[in-house]
Symmetry: C2
Subunit: 480 residues, 2 copies
Amino acid sequence: MTTDNHWKHLFAPESVALIGASNTRGSWGHGIMRHLLASPKRKVYPVNPNESEVLGIPAYDSVLNIPEAVDLAVIVVAAPRVPQIMQQCVQKGIKTAVIVSGGFAESGEPELEAEVVKIAREGSIRFIGPNTMGHADTSSGLCTLAWTAQIPPGPVALISQSGNMMHRIIHCGMSLGIGFSKFVSTGNEADLHLEDYLEYMAGDEKTRVITAYIEGLREGRRFLELARKITPNKPIIAIKAGGTTESARAVRSHTAALAGSDAIYTAAFRQSGVIRVDDDDELCDVVTALLYQPLPRSSRIGILTIGGGMGVVAAEAVEREGLEVAHLAPATIEKLNTYLPPRWSHGNPVDMAGISMDEHHLAFSALWTLMEDKNVDAILLQAPLGFSTERLARTFTSEEIEAHHQREGNNLELLHQRVKESGKPVFMVKPSVEFANDPEVSALFRKEELPVYSAPRRAAKVLNHLVWYKRYLDALRENC
Amino acid sequence: MTTDNHWKHLFAPESVALIGASNTRGSWGHGIMRHLLASPKRKVYPVNPNESEVLGIPAYDSVLNIPEAVDLAVIVVAAPRVPQIMQQCVQKGIKTAVIVSGGFAESGEPELEAEVVKIAREGSIRFIGPNTMGHADTSSGLCTLAWTAQIPPGPVALISQSGNMMHRIIHCGMSLGIGFSKFVSTGNEADLHLEDYLEYMAGDEKTRVITAYIEGLREGRRFLELARKITPNKPIIAIKAGGTTESARAVRSHTAALAGSDAIYTAAFRQSGVIRVDDDDELCDVVTALLYQPLPRSSRIGILTIGGGMGVVAAEAVEREGLEVAHLAPATIEKLNTYLPPRWSHGNPVDMAGISMDEHHLAFSALWTLMEDKNVDAILLQAPLGFSTERLARTFTSEEIEAHHQREGNNLELLHQRVKESGKPVFMVKPSVEFANDPEVSALFRKEELPVYSAPRRAAKVLNHLVWYKRYLDALRENC
């Protein structure tokens, strides 16, 4: 059997056996069973010697008694029983498995883990885990998670050395409208390593961006070689945790991995084009930008704000994150003078100093002017565009509101086009929390693929990642 | 007239004239008029020579024609007209003003500003601004803002050298359930300085915590002397912006202030007990902690998590923010062994390694045990306590859900008590975004005054501020 077939059986099996399937609500065996049944694309065989059926499906007392072929075994029985179950899987001719059960190397039982690996090797089984929280493929409809359901399909793959962090990243992404292609909680990586999944995701057509939560790499050199090949085509964004003394100790008790030197990871990621981020929020911020916005040519940022304080804070964020506050061309200043109110700041940051809701077209005009300036590579925008109906209703009639939405919608669509044409990303920063939490406003910006960030510092951090990635890619091309 | 009377007229006037009141929806003169009328506590006189009434209230063509005494004048006319208006205010015997109008020193018109100051000095008028976005006092019901209404009363005062940042901070606070006593956008500070407001807020009974957004101090030495006297009783939390080259330049064009050396500000704040934060999110995070939680005795943090990855990330956050991962006493480990599942991490971070929803009491038991450990000064908790009804309904019957809520409510109440008794703060970190955005869950924690943070790094940063502030206060006491 080829490796390709192993991957097919792992991520798009035609039949799955769940060993440890359960009718007890709240248990792993129950949660996974529900998710397996959510897709009609495959046969699901619950295995539990104490039940005649699980969730209405006839149960088997052993995989050996399942009458048909099984592509994938999902195992949630207690750790000491896993070797025997794996032997039965070998006997049944099953070639892939997901061992959800914990209680192996991470709990001071490396011999038990070694025994499982030995059985798998001899029987040509490739497996995820043990101690994994499962995996999923949104195009095949497979999900072996116990807790999170209904993950939207999309272009982002996720490989996580922590099940909880996988959940955090997925939820964070979902809240920003990000969809996922495939993801996997790698567990103890007794057989398949993070590097194997990375190689697989790199070749996956549905995946445009690869994300990872890393505690310790088992094949560091291979990771770097793979990353070097992948990042010119698909960005890799990674959290590397465990960079301090106590967190490194926590890594050992979590997945039995070695966290390694933080400085070495930093250097290695930089050399292979991997974008390193601090946490799940930052990871999702960068993903949104990479999916929807062009890479800026360089680091000179035009800042457009509704107020002076926001301009100050945005300029400080830009500089503190290693970017430059662009020096506007004289022609830009002159052009802005022709339509902005005379009180505007006459420089970058372009502070419009409180335009009214009737004057929103001025903000868009200022955006067009800034985008035309050759000294500007990207724009950070902090102005209350896209007001919600509720907010507008405090001041305007329903007819005025409709006209406002119409104008604003047209301008945002135009902005979307100009971003693509100019190759200059435009990052929106929420001017207020009131604005921030409005789903109507979020939907408006999402429709035009304009990323919205909660604070200037966060937007500037993401822009800096994009600038760095662009320079990495440019240097590669120059060396070719 | 005493200074006290000036303050009373500014923040709790019995009568207000709005010069520049307007019927044009969306204009400043309209927005401020609406807010002034929101409270029945005072008489409001609109002044506008072109209108017979504004929002149904008879309008005057000049303050001079208002038949009764006026405590406070709010001025929103074009800058060149302000000197004349101020002269009329002097003639009318008005003693305080809020000059909302911009177009003075910040727009290259320092002479115009000097003229206004001269008139005010000679007429014994004290004033806020010019170029202010207004101020408010939630106990007197006064609000001179144009845009934000219905600010909940509470113990937090805010002094801001930016109107937009004031709005951001207020909205951010409101979204976390923080109420405000008084706030002011200081504008150009041509007359009243940030230091004046600080002294006033320090003596205000309704104010327990003072917050500030600072671009440049006009009386640095006075600020420090005031801060030294205030911070032993009321914490001061400040954002100091403009610490980089271009942001300092932006400060000059914003409020005509000098940003000054960032290093000097840092040193001065540390010497006077001022907690310096980076942005509005962090400011509100710290305020929540100071309002509801005790100051930790020292920096040894107990970490309790539902999963290993979260433990790793939390430990890293704690160490990177300058705190310590506590070394648990052997008795603590033994006690945890008696009830946690054997797979738990057997150390700090205490990773419960996936307890089910039926086992939530274990998380609370572990909390009690950690709080009893003398090596633990504060606790960072990242576990999905307080599930929403919607989430529970995916798995449990309505009776089970009710019982769950009952148990959970009791335990959270007990947690509240134990925090007060032990003097050990407990900070909750949202285990997932799904959990994060649930208003039912937020309300549950808010009821028991347990701050909830979106990421471990943010919680650790706040804890570190608290530890620093406690050490500052302890050192003060030792030196007495």
